[in-house]
């Protein structure tokens, strides 16, 4: 079943007008799938993650539907959405370091949270402890305050809390960007472990780092300026991308072994369009070396091969 997102539009209300942060996004995530959501700042990836669980006050659901396991998620309705949060859809936020109440012992906070959702802490305490063992956290952390934990420990603790009710969908928003490379590897693998053990069914792994996504994602979806540019199996995106943006992006990444002296890489000139008043047609047109007249029309996402979607006239 999994997640089906259909033509989702989420706009931000600002003084200058509506920022069309998410402007017609369609995709699906299957059971047991880790979807890597990649793109540069301002492409709408974080907005997408937030939309699926809790919009902030300035966000408005302007169109499209979200279906999880066959049931429609009322993402625009904060109250009705509450029933799905935590148990069906959960999130590991970007701010994991400060996600826990600094003045409450962690165990107490978890108990408060569970009771607030009408659950008994006692019934879940055993499972909680087993999962702590699994991520190599001592059980004593439940009796500590967040301040007493190191950064990596807090990160693992939040991962355990967020997945405690075995949600169908987990949104992991830039969870490794504040971490060191060695810790990053451990956290990313823990996430895969959670999926393998069935703690979560599907994962949307949001990151700006394609190399990292490639390590753990089954599928990668590249976003550009509020729209999906390309979506395919991870190795296809990396080795045989079809969208010009994906191609340029991948070729601009320095890999260990590539040296300036041997092979000079190049970036993508220009910058993404303003989403206040986005241009019609393909949004990458201004920066695209292949752009032609046809690009003034909006390219539809076409399934060029099975499970390989590209929104480009030249693909």
């Amino acid at each position: 079943m999994g997640l089906r997102v259909n033509d989702l539009k989420v706009y931000y209300q600002t003084l200058r007008g509506e920022v069309k942060a998410l402007d017609g996004v369609t995709f699906a995530v299957g059971d047991g799938e880790i979807l890597g959501l990649a793109g540069e700042s301002g492409c709408g990836k974080t907005t997408l993650g937030k939309s699926l669980i809790r919009m902030d006050g300035r966000m408005r659901h302007t169109g499209g539907t979200v279906e999880l396991d066959g049931a429609e998620l009322p993402i625009g309705d904060d109250r009705r959405m509450n029933r799905f949060r935590f148990s069906e859809v959960s999130i590991i936020p970007q701010y994991a370091m400060s996600a826990m109440n600094p003045t409450r012992k962690i165990g107490k906070m978890v108990a408060d949270l569970l009771e607030s959702r009408g659950l008994r802490y006692r019934n879940l305490a055993g499972e909680l402890e087993r999962r702590l063992d699994l991520v190599e956290l001592p059980r004593e952390v439940l009796g500590s305050y967040p301040l007493e934990l190191s950064g990596g420990m807090k990160q693992r603790m939040v991962m355990v809390i967020s997945t405690l009710l075995d949600p169908s969908l987990l949104i992991a928003d830039e969870i490794t960007s504040a971490l060191d490379v060695s810790t990053q590897k451990a956290v990313a693998r823990t996430l895969v472990g959670f999926r393998d053990r069935g703690f979560v069914r599907s994962v949307i792994f949001i990151t700006h780092d394609i190399s990292l996504t490639y390590q753990i994602a089954d599928t990668i979806m590249v976003m550009y300026a509020g729209k999906v540019a390309e979506k395919a199996r991870a190795d296809v995106i990396v080795n045989a991308p079809r969208h010009p943006y994906t191609k340029l992006l991948i070729s601009s990444l320095p890999e260990v072994g590539v040296r300036y002296a041997d092979r000079k890489l190049a970036g993508i000139p220009g910058s993404p369009p303003s989403l206040l008043d986005p241009p019609t047609g393909c949004r990458f047109r201004d920066r695209c070396p292949l752009a032609h007249d046809k690009c003034a029309e909006e390219p539809p996402a076409v399934e060029v091969e099975p499970d390989h979607f590209v929104a480009c006239w030249k693909a």
Partner: protein, 293 residues
């Protein structure tokens, strides 16, 4: 040109400064003209402290940093900054948000070139912007929030070039930039060495360090654990910490191997010495490799 000799930074912490914290200890290496040296380490390795000490923003507790043979602590500040400059991690934090971005140029003019005539100065700015491939019309007279991170970082490099600098400290200058613009700033840095500049490139990202530098210094917990030609360090790492870092970097060419990550969190570098394992390739020989976690 720039030489660090057994440099240490020790902070006093706690009430009444009772305890001490060693952020950097026994760091020594040299950077020559026309050379990019990358200083690689994770958070808490002390790499940024080294960068700040070279720039004279943080005082050296022990050891010395010399520039062309003179201890920088004794050099007149203003003269030193004429030849040695820095660019930092967060481009948005480098600009005073209440002023226009090109104020960083005006500051240089006021302090260093008060007598230069306006047209001459404008020409100098244009030349400098041209060097960093910025279009003056697009960046002058703008507020920082109207420019992209990449543009802001280039402006800062252009600012340093106004001074005819000989040496640049680049502290994580690309870590806040998007992938598509990051590489252009990095190329710019690599270009500087063709002008005879020495560059200290501080980074946590091994692939970036590998891309631009001739030599690499790897730091861990305030100590240099390995240094040598970038080629050697990356293809033949001799220190377990370097090897671990290399195996953790996500790459597009290979997937992570399945061996579980070995915790190697705390090493005791107390009495260990740097040993030359081959010409120019030094590795710290930890006598007691204690894994404490």
């Amino acid at each position: 040109m720039l030489k660090l000799d057994a440099v240490a930074k020790i902070y006093k912490v706690g009430a009444f400064g009772g305890r001490t914290l060693t952020a950097v200890d026994d760091v020594g290496f040299e950077i020559r003209s026309g050379e990019v040296v990358s200083l690689i380490g994770e958070s808490g390795s002390g790499k940024s402290t080294v960068g700040r000490m070279v720039l004279g923003l943080t005082a050296v507790t022990r050891g010395s940093i010399t520039y062309d043979g003179a201890d920088i602590a004794t050099l007149p500040r203003k003269a030193y900054y004429r030849s040695v400059q820095g660019v930092f991690q967060d481009p948005f934090s480098c600009y005073n948000p209440v002023f226009k971005a090109d104020r960083v140029f005006r500051m240089i003019k006021e302090e260093y070139f008060p007598r230069v005539a306006a047209p001459e100065w404008d020409a100098k700015i244009e030349e400098s912007l041209d060097d960093v491939r910025l279009n003056p019309a697009q960046v002058l007279g703008k507020y920082p929030h109207q420019l992209s991170g990449g543009q802001l970082q280039r402006l800062l490099i252009a600012r340093a070039l106004l001074l005819d600098i000989k040496f640049l400290v680049a502290d994580e200058i690309t870590s806040m930039l998007d992938a598509s613009t990051r590489i252009d700033v990095l190329n710019l840095l690599a270009d500087l060495k063709s002008r005879g500049l020495g560059v200290l490139f501080v980074t946590h990202d091994l692939s970036l360090g590998n891309y631009v530098s001739e030599r690499t210094v790897v730091m861990h917990r305030g100590h240099v654990v390995e240094m040598g030609l970038t080629d050697k360090v990356f293809t033949d790492p001799r220190h377990p910490y370097t090897a671990k870092l290399l195996s953790s970097v996500p790459q597009l060419t290979t997937k992570w191997d399945d061996t579980p990550a070995v915790p190697l969190d705390i090493l005791d570098y107390g009495a260990a010495a740097l040993v030359e394992v081959e010409p120019g390739h030094l590795v710290r020989q930890e006598q007691s490799l204690r894994s404490v976690n």
